[in-house]
C-alpha cells in the first residue's frame, strides 16, 4: 500500500473513531467502560487479568502434583479435606494426578501464554506503537475477548464434573482421549475440553485477523513497515502463525468429537478396551498427531515470538542502544515463522514414522536453530558497550536470553532423531520445553508487564518487589529444570505418578524432593508478584512524566492516562525507526522527531 493510501485510510479511521468517541463520551457507563469495552487498552487489561487468574490456577496445580512427585510416600490429610476422594487418605490419586498435569499444561500453554500473552500485548501495543486510535475492528476485538472468556468458563467448569476434567496430557492423543472406557478423564471432561478449545480457536482467529489487518492498514503517516518496533513485527508473525495453524487444530478436534460421539473411525482401529471389542477399523491414531502438531509446533512459537519482541524492545531501551541488526531480527522472525510450519513431525520420530521422512524433519528442525542463534547473538551485541539500566523489566529481559539459550540448545538434542530415540518423552523434554518456552515466555512476559505497567495504569510496580521476584524466579527456574536433564539422560519417563517401584529411576527420588521444594518457593514468588500487581494498580507510585523510560516509540507520546482514541489531538507523524538511542551523542531521539539536516545515517 502506498504511503498516500495509508494516510488516507488512516485519516478516515481517525475521523470515524473520533466521532464515535465524542458521541458516546457522555454516557460511558461502567458496563461499556470496564466490561463490554471496545477500547483496545481495556481489552488488553481484561486479557491480562484473566490470564493472571489462570496462571495462579495452573501454577497451583503444578504445586499439587509436585507434592506427589516430591513426597510419594507421605500423606497430607488437608488435601483430602479439600479434594475429597480425589485425594483419598491425604494422597493424590493417580486419576487426580493426571487430571492436574493435563489441565496445568492446557491452561499454561493456551490460556496464559497464548491468550494471556498475545491478548495483552497485541491489544495494548499495536495501536499505540503503530499510531492508531484503536484496532481495525474494535467490535471483533471485544468478541475475541468474550470468546476467550466463554472458553475459560467451559474449561473451568470441567474441573467440577464428577468424572473430572481431561486427563490424557495436554496433547490429548486418541484413542485414549476418544474412549470414555479408557480413562475417567475421557468422559464428559474431555467433551468440555474440546468445546472450550473450539471456542478458544474462535477467539484466537478473531484476535489474529484483527492484529494483522491493523498492522497492515492502520499505521500512522511515515510508519513504514521497516520503522515498526520489533514488538509489532513479532506480534505480526505470531498472528499469521495462529491464523494459519489453529484451523488445522480445529479440524483435528472436530474429527475427535466425531469419533467420540458419531461412531466414525478417523483415529480408531482394532481396539479392545476393558474386554470390549470395538467395531472401528482402518483409522489412524497417528493422523491426529499430525493434525495436532501442525498447530502444536507453531503454537510454541506463537508463545515465544511475542516475548522475543517485548524483550528486544525492553533491552534496547534499557541498554540505551539500538537493537543490533534490526533487519536480521525481522528476517530471523520471518525464518522462524516459515520453518515453524515445516518441523511438526519432530514430535513424532518414534511413532513409526518413515525413517526417511524423519530425516527430512531432522534437517528442517535443526535449521530452525540458525535464526534462533542469530537472535541470541544480536541480543548479546545489543548489550555490548551499552549503558545498562537494570529496571525490573531489563532484568527479566536478560533472564529471558539466558533461559532461551539454555533451552534452545537442548532443542538441538531433541531435533536429532538419533538422540530423540533415547530422550523422547523423558524428563529431558520436560526440561527443554519448560526452559525454552515456559520460563522464557514468562520472563519475557514479566519484562513486558513491568515495562508497560505505567502505560496501562499510570502507576509503577514496586521495583524492590520486582527485583526479589526476578532473582528468586531465575534461581528457582534453574534449580527446578537443570537437574531434570540428568533424569532425562537416565531415560526417566515423563507423566509418571510415582517412580519408587522402578529400579532404573528410583535413585532420583531425593532430587525430586529438591525440585518440588524449589517449585513451591517459586510459586510463592509469583504470588508476591500478583500481589504487587493488584496493589500497584490502586496504590502504586504515580507516573509523573509522559515518557518515564526515555523511550523512542510512539506509545510514550500519548498522555499518561490516554483515553479511548489514544492521542487527544492528531496522531503524530513518524520520521524515523524506533531505535535511535545514543545517536550523535543524544540519549535518544523520538520517532516523531524529523530527521535533522546534519544527522548521520546508519
Amino acid at each position: 500500500m502506498s504511503n498516500e493510501a495509508t494516510v488516507h485510510v488512516e485519516q478516515g479511521a481517525v475521523h470515524e473513531v473520533l466521532e464515535h468517541h465524542d458521541e458516546h463520551h457522555h454516557h460511558e457507563t461502567f458496563i461499556t467502560k470496564y466490561v463490554f469495552s471496545q477500547d483496545h487498552k481495556m481489552i488488553a487489561k481484561q486479557f491480562l487479568i484473566t490470564g493472571t487468574i489462570w496462571a495462579i490456577i495452573g501454577g497451583l496445580m503444578s504445586v499439587l502434583f509436585r507434592i506427589q512427585l516430591g513426597y510419594p510416600d507421605a500423606t497430607f490429610p488437608f488435601l483430602e479435606d479439600i479434594f475429597g476422594h480425589w485425594a483419598k487418605g491425604g494422597k493424590i490419586q493417580p486419576e487426580f494426578y493426571y487430571a492436574l498435569v493435563t489441565m496445568h499444561g492446557t491452561i499454561l500453554v493456551f490460556f496464559v501464554l497464548t491468550a494471556g500473552l498475545s491478548g495483552t500485548f497485541a491489544n495494548l501495543l499495536i495501536p499505540l506503537q503503530v499510531g492508531a486510535r484503536d484496532m481495525a475492528s474494535p467490535m471483533l476485538n471485544m468478541l475475541s475477548y468474550w470468546f476467550f472468556f466463554l472458553a475459560s468458563i467451559v474449561m473451568f467448569s470441567s474441573l467440577f464434573v464428577e468424572t473430572g476434567p481431561a486427563a490424557g496430557g495436554w496433547t490429548v492423543y486418541p484413542p485414549l482421549s476418544a474412549l470414555g472406557d479408557a480413562s475417567q478423564g475421557s468422559k464428559i471432561g474431555m467433551d468440555l475440553w474440546l468445546v472450550s478449545m473450539a471456542l478458544f480457536v474462535v477467539s484466537s482467529l478473531l484476535g489474529g485477523l484483527n492484529y494483522i489487518s491493523t498492522i497492515l492498514n492502520m499505521r500512522t503517516k511515515g510508519m513504514t513497515m521497516t520503522r515498526l518496533p520489533l514488538t509489532i513485527w513479532a506480534i505480526f508473525f505470531t498472528a499469521i502463525l495462529g491464523v494459519l495453524s489453529f484451523p488445522v487444530l480445529f479440524s483435528g478436534f472436530i474429527l475427535l468429537l466425531f469419533d467420540r460421539h458419531l461412531g466414525t473411525s478417523f483415529y480408531l482401529s482394532e481396539i479392545v478396551i476393558n474386554g470390549k471389542i470395538l467395531p472401528n477399523e482402518g483409522g489412524s491414531a497417528i493422523l491426529y498427531q499430525h493434525l495436532f502438531w501442525f498447530l502444536g509446533h507453531p503454537e510454541v512459537y506463537i508463545i515465544i515470538l511475542p516475548t522475543m519482541g517485548l524483550v528486544s524492545e525492553v533491552m534496547s531501551v534499557n541498554a540505551r542502544k539500538p537493537i543490533f541488526g534490526y533487519m536480521a531480527m525481522v528476517g530471523s522472525l520471518f525464518a522462524i515463522a516459515v520453518l515453524a510450519f515445516l518441523v511438526w513431525a519432530h514430535h513424532m520420530f518414534v511413532t513409526g514414522l518413515n525413517p526417511f521422512l524423519g530425516s527430512i524433519f531432522v534437517l528442517l528442525t535443526l535449521l530452525i536453530a540458525v535464526p534462533s542463534a542469530i537472535k541470541v547473538f544480536n541480543w548479546l551485541t545489543t548489550l555490548w558497550r551499552g549503558n545498562i539500566r537494570f529496571t525490573p523489566a531489563m532484568l527479566f529481559a536478560i533472564g529471558f536470553v539466558s533461559m532461551f539459550i539454555s533451552g534452545g540448545l537442548t532443542g538441538i538434542f531433541l531435533g536429532n532423531s538419533t538422540l530423540d530415540l533415547h530422550l523422547h518423552d523423558t524428563y529431558f523434554v520436560i526440561a527443554h520445553f519448560h526452559i525454552v518456552m515456559g520460563i522464557s515466555a514468562f520472563l519475557g512476559m514479566f519484562a513486558g508487564v513491568y515495562h508497560w505497567f505505567p502505560k496501562m495504569y499510570g502507576r509503577y510496580l514496586n521495583s524492590t518487589l520486582g527485583y526479589i521476584h526476578f532473582w528468586v524466579t531465575l534461581v528457582c527456574a534453574y534449580v527446578i529444570f537443570w537437574p531434570m536433564h540428568y533424569e532425562g539422560f537416565a531415560g526417566m519417563p515423563r507423566r509418571y505418578y510415582d517412580y519408587s517401584s522402578w529400579e532404573s529411576f528410583k535413585n532420583f527420588v531425593e532430587l525430586n524432593k529438591v525440585i518440588s521444594f524449589a517449585a513451591m518457593l517459586s510459586f510463592g514468588a509469583q504470588l508476591m508478584f500478583v500481589f504487587n500487581f493488584f496493589y500497584s494498580i490502586f496504590h502504586g507510585r504515580k507516573v509523573t512524566t509522559k515518557n518515564p523510560w526515555h523511550s523512542a516509540t510512539l506509545e510514550w507520546t500519548t498522555p499518561i492516562n490516554p483515553g479511548h482514541g489514544n492521542w487527544p489531538g492528531e496522531i503524530p507523524e513518524v520520521h524515523r525507526w524506533a531505535y535511535d538511542y545514543g545517536k550523535d551523542g543524544k540519549d535518544y531521539i523520538d520517532q516523531t522527531t524529523p530527521v535533522g539536516k546534519d544527522e548521520s545515517g546508519h
Binding site: L380, T464, Y467
Partner: protein, 366 residues
C-alpha cells in the same frame, strides 16, 4: 489440618508481610534520598548480582553434575550396539552445545555487569554490522550441518533393516501391562486378529488358531534375549497408544493400535554382567511405557532378561505354546476343527507328520 500446618502458614504470611513492608519502605526512602541516588545504588547491586549469578551458577552446575552424572549410567557402556552410537552422538552434541552454552552465558552476564549504567560512559551507537551477522549465521549453520550429518548417519543405521538371523519377538501393550510372544520352532509369528482377543478363552493376543504358524507360538511372562544376538521387536497395542521404552538400550518405539511397528537392536551385556558393571545387585532391564496411556501408565513395567545362548535355550525349552493352553483338548483343532470332527484319522495324520517332522499345516494340506 495439624497445628504445625497452621504454624507454617502463619510464618509464610508473616514473611510475606515483612517483605512487602520493606519493599514499600524502600520506595519512600528513595523519594527521600532522591531518585537518582537510589537508581544508582540499585543498578550497582543488580549488576553485581549478575556476576554472582554467573559464578555461583557455573559452580552449582559443576556440583550438580558431580552428584547426578553417575546416576544417569551414561558413564557405563550402553547395553546395546545402537546405544553406543547414540551415546557417541550425545557426546558430540554435548560438546558442541556445551561450548556455545558457556560462551554465550558468560558473555551475557559479563556484558550485563561490565556495561552497567555509568555517568562516565555513553552507549555506543552500533545498529548493525553485516560482516558479523554473516559470521554468526554461517558458523551455527556449519556446526548444525556436522550434527545433522552424524545424526542421520546413525539414524539410518539404527532404523535400517534388522540383520538376517535376528530373532523375532512380539511385544503387545494394553492397559496396563505388556505381553510377549515368541514365534516358536517355525520362526514365524502366527496371524492375529483383534476380534479374537478373549482372555476367558486363554487368547489374550487374539491369535488365530486356524493359522498353524500360531500353534507353536510361545507366550511367556517375561522377555528373554540372547546376548550379542540381534533381536527384532514387533510392537503392537490393543487399546490406546503405548510405547516400548528401553532406557538401557537407549531406544523406544510407540505401540499403536491397528498399526504394528518394529525396532531392532543387539544387546551387549547379560543382566548378570550389568549387575556387576553397575554394582547394583538388583539391576534389571526394565521396559517403561513412555506414552501416556491412562491412570496406570506409571506402573506399566516389563522386564527383559538378557542371558547366554545356553541359558536362553534352557528357558525357552520350558515354555508351553499358548495354543496348548487355549486348546487343552488336543492339537486337532487347527483350521480343521470346525469342518472335521476330531476323529482318529486326524490324530493319525498328526502322528504321521510328527514322524516326518513337518509342520501340521503342510501335513493337513496334503
Amino acid at each position: 489440618m495439624t497445628a504445625s500446618g497452621y504454624l507454617i502458614i502463619a510464618i509464610l504470611a508473616l514473611l510475606f508481610v515483612v517483605i512487602f513492608q520493606i519493599a514499600k519502605a524502600s520506595e519512600y526512602v528513595s523519594v527521600l534520598k532522591g531518585e537518582k541516588k537510589t537508581f544508582e545504588q540499585n543498578n550497582r547491586i543488580n549488576a553485581f548480582l549478575m556476576v554472582v549469578f554467573l559464578v555461583v551458577g557455573l559452580a552449582a552446575a559443576w556440583w550438580c553434575n558431580d552428584l547426578l552424572y553417575k546416576k544417569t549410567l551414561l558413564g557405563l557402556p550402553s547395553a546395546s550396539e545402537h546405544g553406543e552410537k547414540i551415546d557417541t552422538m550425545l557426546w558430540i552434541t554435548l560438546i558442541i552445545t556445551g561450548i556455545v552454552f558457556f560462551i554465550t552465558q558468560i558473555l551475557l552476564f559479563w556484558f550485563a555487569y561490565r556495561y552497567q549504567a555509568s555517568e562516565k560512559r555513553t552507549a555506543y551507537y552500533y545498529p548493525h554490522n553485516n560482516f558479523l551477522e554473516v559470521i554468526w549465521t554461517a558458523v551455527p549453520a556449519l556446526a548444525l550441518t556436522v550434527l545433522v550429518g552424524f545424526g542421520l548417519y546413525y539414524w539410518f543405521k539404527i532404523t535400517g533393516e534388522a540383520p538376517k538371523g535376528a530373532m523375532e519377538v512380539e511385544i503387545t501393550g494394553h492397559q496396563f501391562g505388556w505381553e510377549y510372544r515368541y514365534p516358536g520352532k517355525d520362526s514365524v509369528l502366527g496371524r492375529v486378529n483383534y476380534k479374537l482377543i478373549d482372555a476367558a478363552k486363554s487368547n489374550p493376543l487374539g491369535q488365530d488358531w486356524t493359522d498353524v504358524a500360531n500353534q507353536d507360538d510361545l507366550h511367556p511372562s517375561e522377555m528373554h534375549l540372547v546376548v550379542k544376538r540381534p533381536v527384532r521387536l514387533v510392537i503392537r497395542a490393543q487399546d490406546v497408544i503405548h510405547d516400548v521404552g528401553l532406557p538401557h538400550f537407549r531406544l523406544k518405539m510407540d505401540a499403536v493400535p491397528g498399526i504394528p511397528t518394529t525396532m531392532w537392536f543387539t544387546p551387549q551385556f547379560t543382566t548378570a554382567e550389568m549387575r556387576e558393571k553397575t554394582g547394583n545387585p538388583n539391576f534389571v532391564y526394565e521396559i517403561s511405557c513412555d506414552q501416556m496411556c491412562g491412570k496406570g501408565h506409571y506402573s506399566m513395567k516389563g522386564t527383559i532378561i538378557v542371558e547366554t545362548q545356553a541359558e536362553y535355550d534352557k528357558w525357552i525349552a520350558g515354555q508351553k505354546p499358548q495354543y496348548v493352553t487355549a486348546n487343552p483338548n488336543g492339537a486337532a483343532a487347527a483350521g480343521s476343527a470346525s469342518t472335521q470332527p476330531a476323529t482318529e484319522n486326524t490324530n493319525k495324520a498328526d502322528a504321521n507328520q510328527k514322524q516326518e517332522g513337518k509342520p501340521v499345516a503342510q501335513a493337513l494340506k496334503k
